[in-house]
Amino acid sequence: MIAKRVIPCLDVHAGQVTRGVQFGIAEAGGLRNVGDPVELALRYNEQGADEMVFFDITATAHGRTTMVDVVERAADQCFMPLTVGGGLRSVDDMYAMLRAGADKISINSSALATPDLIRAGAEKFGSQCIVVSIDAKKAGPDRWEVFSHGGRKATGLDAVEWAKRAVALGAGEIVLNSIDADGTKAGFDLVITRRISESVGVPVVASGGAGTLEHMAEVLLEGRADAVLAASIFHFGEFTVGDVKRFLAGKGIVVRLA
């Protein structure tokens, strides 16, 4: 049986892992410094993380250079799948990260600006390599709108429609981040997660809102997500990856216990 995945996410700023409370707070100076990305990666590797996401929150050329170094150092010591995102705008940017040791590339704003980047990446590296990350915000009783630029810019796109289009263009995985829930620790948005998971044939990773172990179980069971991604819950030592997995296993969810 394939296991549901538990994925710590490391937001990297100037070579350090940081964590803002909610979208936009980081820019206002509300970052909390969490530590060295490679040290954290090693800790989560020990705890049995199924995968790790490195996210460059500066999304700049300088940030990319820093990230190549972070990924190389992490890949030298952690023999596990690594995903890199943030500010990757071309097939060349993607290749630099893959050569550094990344397995998957996550794109968000650049895919919204140039949807063809999804197709180009999938043709060059295979669909399994291209993750499209979607920041969605509830915009009505039955509508979720896609935002770009770290949740700052409304796009007018419907989240379910954009997910389907991204998959049609070649995305091999969708990360769904709920803007409303992100950083609140009040639980994932189960409705939109399930809707997208049932609308696309590729795996869906739920992100944003994990505060308790029960939230993780809910989004895998009711939300039909294939994986859960979380940051704060792990960084601040509330739970280890092992804690999460043992809890999920107790709920009858198939996980890989290290």
């Binding site: 394939i2 290749y95 060059k124 295979g126």
Partner: protein, 205 residues
């Protein structure tokens, strides 16, 4: 020395690091000459079947690999490097003939409710051949990391070393003589994966 075939595959560095981690002396080889003194070969791969075959052909490695395998020295193919050992792929628009070391073709997972394609994540190995040297000290049911939409269907069931269930039961690795190949990524499968690579490296000593 283990020759790691360098033809632009994205997971090259990860495979190199993992092999070195388990004590192998590794050399990146982009030209047939590099196979001469190799005690073993590892063929990595991610992405499309045709890209792999065409790149190997351009670098004159396709025939060189066939010759190497015939010498009986240890060979390990990973992911697309596993698929390349078969005759052909049913990947969209695929035209390139594979290495044809084993009869059979590479097929896509059938669409089934509840099974997302690609298969991305950790799935279990059913050891069909527990005596396969690659799986020394590997418990039955171990989780390893997969990321793929296609898998080979060997005509000869006798070469199947492990099976994995993802809606269908597929050959997640094969073994014949000194030829080993895995659909999963040992270089990304943490402790279990490193043990599998270590077992291969032992064969090359």
């Amino acid at each position: 020395m283990i020759a790691l075939i360098d033809y632009g595959s994205g997971n090259l560095r990860s495979v190199e690091k993992a092999l070195r981690h388990v004590g192998a002396e590794v050399q990146l080889v982009a030209h047939p000459d590099g196979l001469q003194d190799a005690r073993a070969v590892v063929l990595p791969g991610v992405g499309a079947f045709d890209d792999c075959i065409n790149a190997l052909k351009t670098q004159e490695l396709l025939e060189a690999l066939r010759v190497f395998i015939r010498t009986g020295r240890p060979f390990l193919g990973i992911c697309v490097g596993y698929q390349a050992l078969f005759e052909r792929s049913e990947e969209f628009n695929s035209r390139a003939p594979g290495l044809a070391i084993f009869p059979g073709s590479v097929v896509r997972f059938p669409a089934q409710p509840g099974f997302k394609i690609p298969q991305i994540g950790w799935n279990q190995l059913e050891l069909v051949k527990p005596d396969c040297p690659l799986y020394r000290d590997i418990p039955n049911g171990s989780f390893v990391y997969f990321v793929h939409s296609f898998f080979p269907q060997p005509v000869d069931e006798a070469i199947v070393a492990t099976r994995t269930d993802y809606g269908v039961s597929f050959a997640s690795s094969v073994w014949r003589d000194n030829v080993f190949a895995t659909q999963f990524h040992p270089e990304k499968s943490q402790t279990i994966g490193l043990q599998i690579l270590k077992n291969f490296v032992e064969l090359a000593k």
